[in-house]
């Protein structure tokens, strides 16, 4: 049995666990059993993924007599698949471990337990299938199971709306992918990926393919302006499912984009990278800008997913530009950065969603304006959330910085590109990325500062208790990985090189430790370099020296007293800086243009008894400009077509007959 066959056994196993979940009762044993079993299977998938990544073998292929009778189901395991297996199953295992503690608080086991393993199975299946039919089937299963999970709390109206929006966007995305495969298959009509690969330099309209990828995979990943469903749907699900949707499912969409752009339609031209870079830059910037305006912790995290997807697609766009110009080192650095960021984002975003789940369970609040001071009540969760926040804000020596540094390094060689447009475009996109990274730090100062620091703003926050051991250990694993990848990025970068070889046809030379064992040197020993390990070491040395000299020379007496606050401390926690006030400067600088943010202050005159009021109004341009008119248009059309519901039998037969004639005419025309 080879790796692929072993891996394929996971899928019926997960479906079986899902089937058992149908019988679940509301006891801890059932929950722990189902989540534990799912976690074990994921762990197994993780091992297979790592094995597939390090194995130096040609892609494994397999055809099973499933699906359509004339084409069968094709499966394939190459390094790209193996890498994404690692991402998916790492996230799956961590979320399952978390759910063994957190999941017990879900009131309806039969709504969630059957769907959860099936969701993971569907995501794994998307990675290994190798023909269009099975791909779309698995993709649709992934959408539907996650849709079911969004609807777990379906009695809340906003969740139903979010789920409906998600379902329509998912349907739209799948339809685009369907068209895409139609374009790729052409008239020959062979829908296996192998046929697409052979035909890859053929007369397919590449720009159309790219457009459909951006619509199909981009709507699932959350590219602007198709991201609107994401911040509504991801937070609606239970937190461990949110972690999977944000941390993992968006990565499956990235996988689809990579597979189609670089593998199936390999004839990439430089012009294609222009829309990708522009959309990705806007997505990164806008995503974080939206996030800063949010006060709902889970929605804030979901908007950050949009930002990070933008960063990943920036790497992809750069890789496309470099590859089309045969500048392979740049292409390899860019694609490595995109892949590394994919892994990193899945780690810290899962970590942060799990942390927000712990907070949600402890306080019952998602609105950070009602939290505060949780660092005293939940110190361990606070620490892990802090690690995640620092990692997502791209702070060295954690992992988020490494991938963004690699993207910047790829940008630094962009002046070698021959096209003037690219020379001008890439620095501008780079500035957007720098802005996004800095705003992300601002956003997480706000998220962490308002949630965990300061004084509690509500009784629930004041009485929160630390979460359970399973949840904490899941977060501990993810936080440790964030730190480890930040310190030893070289190991992961070297592991990613087979994938880079597969996608852009070249890989970076393995790091031989010319300068130091863990120095990242994308352009050889004379080029730019970064060493997270030594920075960590230096910081340890520096802080030890500081601590020693403070202990040696300073007065060690520490007293507690009232806060100083310029002599006017206010005992009421309401006078603290809130999330809204924290984001006010940024709202004024950027929001007034982008969100049409307007502040309305109503200050009563002296002597009046009514209360003063302050209101901020913001409009979402993606929603107002695109989605709402589109929805109205569809509503208008459906009303026009409503008459079709009230026809006589003769008229219906006439419709069927005309359709048949039309098809016959088309056939006659084509053959």
């Amino acid at each position: 049995m080879n790796l692929l066959e072993i891996f394929l056994w996971m899928i019926p196993l997960l479906l079986l666990i899902g089937g058992v979940g149908l019988l679940a009762h509301k006891t801890a044993t059932w929950y722990r059993g189902v989540y534990g079993a799912t976690g074990l299977v994921c762990l197994f998938g993780l091992v297979v993924g790592v094995a597939g990544l390090v194995a130096e073998q040609p892609p494994l292929e397999l055809v099973l007599p499933l699906g359509l009778p004339w084409s069968h189901a094709h499966f394939r395991l190459d390094h790209l698949t193996a890498f994404f297996m690692v991402v998916v199953n790492l996230g799956g295992a961590a979320a399952s471990l978390f759910a063994m503690g957190y999941g017990l608080h879900e009131p309806h086991p039969r709504r969630i337990l059957p769907l959860y393993p099936c969701f993971l199975a569907a995501m794994n299946l998307v990675l290994v299938v190798d023909d269009a039919y099975s791909f779309l089937l698995a993709w649709e299963c992934m959408s539907l199971t996650s849709w079911g999970l969004v609807l777990v709390e379906h009695r809340i109206a906003s969740n139903r709306q979010a789920a409906f929006l998600y379902l329509s966007m998912a349907g739209f995305g799948t339809m685009m992918l369907l068209f895409l495969f139609g374009v790729l298959a052409g008239q020959a009509g062979d829908f296996s990926f192998a046929a697409f690969r052979l035909n890859s330099a053929g007369n397919v309209n590449g720009f159309l393919v790219l457009f459909l990828v951006l619509l199909g995979a981009g709507s699932k990943a959350g590219l602007f302006p198709l991201h609107v469903w994401l911040p509504l749907a991801h937070p609606a699900a239970p937190s461990h499912v949110s972690a999977l949707m944000s941390g993992v499912m968006t990565k499956v969409a990235v996988y689809a984009a990579l597979r189609i752009i670089f593998d199936l339609n390999a004839h990439v031209q430089w012009q294609w990278s222009v829309p990708v870079l522009i959309i990705a830059g806007i997505t990164a910037f806008i995503g974080v800008l939206y996030a800063i305006m949010q006060h709902d912790i889970k929605r804030l995290l979901a908007y950050h997913t949009v930002e990070n997807i933008g960063i990943i697609f920036l790497g992809i766009g750069l890789a496309m530009a470099f590859r089309a110009n045969h500048q392979f080192v740049g292409a390899s650095v860019a694609i490595t950065a995109a892949l590394l960021h994919t892994l990193n984002h899945s780690l810290f975003k899962s970590l942060l969603f799990l942390g927000s789940g712990a907070v949600l369970h402890a306080t019952g609040e998602r609105d950070i304006e009602k939290l505060g001071g949780l660092i005293h009540r939940m110190p361990v969760t606070a620490f892990f959330f802090l690690v995640g926040s620092a990692a997502i804000s791209a702070l060295p020596p954690l992992n988020g910085f490494v991938s963004e540094w690699l993207i910047f390094q790829a940008m630094m060689v962009s002046p070698h590109l021959p096209q003037p447009l690219m020379k001008f475009l890439i620095p501008c996109v780079g500035a957007l990325l720098a802005l996004a990274a800095a705003l992300a730090a601002a956003c997480f100062v706000k998220a962490f500062g308002v949630t965990f620091l300061g004084r509690p703003r509500s009784p629930q926050a004041a009485q929160a208790v630390e979460t359970d051991g399973f949840s904490l250990s899941a977060m501990a694993v993810l936080a440790t990985l964030c730190i480890l990848i930040g310190i030893f990025p070289v190991t992961v970068v070297d592991l990613l090189q087979p994938v880079s070889q597969l996608l852009v046809g070249v890989h970076l030379p393995p790091h031989s430790g010319e300068l130091a064992p863990f120095t990242l040197l994308p352009f050889g020993s004379e080029g730019s370099s970064y060493d997270g390990f030594l920075i960590m070491l230096f910081m340890l040395v520096a802080s030890t020296l500081t601590a020693w000299s403070v202990k040696r020379f300073a007065c060690g007496v520490t007293k507690r007293g009232d806060a100083w606050d310029c002599g006017q401390p206010d005992p009421s926690p309401m006078t603290q800086y809130t999330a809204g006030s924290f984001s006010q400067p940024i709202r004024r600088v950027f929001g007034s243009v982008w969100f049409y943010a307007r502040e309305k202050v109503d200050m009563p005159l002296p002597g009046e008894t009514r209360a003063a009021s302050f209101k901020v109004t913001m409009l979402d341009p993606a929603w107002e400009g695109l989605i709402a008119p589109l929805g109205q248009g569809i509503g208008w059309l459906s009303e026009r077509f409503n008459v079709l519901h009230f026809l006589s039998i003769r008229q219906y037969l006439f419709l069927v007959f005309t359709t048949l004639i039309l098809f016959l005419l088309m056939v006659a025309q084509w053959s």
């Binding site: 500035a431 730090a441 920075i535 600088v589």
Partner: protein, 318 residues
Amino acid sequence: MELMHDLLLQGWQMVLVVLIAPWITGVVRKTKARMLRKQGPSVLQPYRDLRRLLSKETLLAENASWLFRVAPYLIVSATWVAATLVPTFATGLPFSWVADLLAIVAILATARFFLALAGMDVGTSFGGIGSSREMMIASLAEPAMLFIVFTMAILAGTTRLSTIASVMASGTMGIRVSIGLSLFAMLIVALAENARIPVDNPATHLELTMVHEAMVLEYTGRHLAMIEIAASIKLVLFLSLISCLFFPLGMAQREDGWLAMGIGLVAYLLKINALACLLAIGESVMAKMRVFRVAELLSIAMLFGVLAVFLLFLSRGM
């Protein structure tokens, strides 16, 4: 022996930046006082302030958390490491490759992140106002800084600071428009990052306009001493950065003998003292800006950065 020599050099730079940090702060204060026709405290006053702060007991707010107590150590060590990695008196120091220009900026961002969090820890309105504004200013300074990095990377072919300094020192660049523009952008970024006038006033208290001082309002005793020294080190870092990127005169090489190192050291000290005096003069003739004008000032820095990059394309030929 080689290794000892290397470690000694790097260690010396590590000690140097801390030793001169309060001096530079003192020079700025003294010059500013003289510009206002005041006598001003001695240049050594910041050293005395530090000693006094260290000898006082530390008073913590009732609800200060562990983060509040850990943050000063993190901030000092991050700033210190970043300053150690900027070439000062010599290029090509043994560990100069550990972090490039991008990474040094990011290490400073780490320090800022924890400083802003510490500002929010006690739950006062002043702390929050400081953190919020600091993060806004930083987020606007970052893209401008990226364009400067871009210009340097195009000129030198790498973002490694030592290499950039050597290339700039070699004089093959000539007087480039782009270098002038990025110098200007860099000056604005440095003013913003170090909370100097016109972005922030380091000497003010009890004003709604303060940014940096508002964040550290709750710190006392040894913690405050650490925050102060970190701010001084950061100032030295930016002055060193400006002098090594734009005025790399007299910098020694790693292989050079002690004499060249000595010359490099003297040149370095002269340069940053001169820059500190210029900073003080600049601060004396400018007025503090309203907070929301700062966004426009930093957009000017960004603009100069963009122009620098684009004109570089023009002059180098596409």
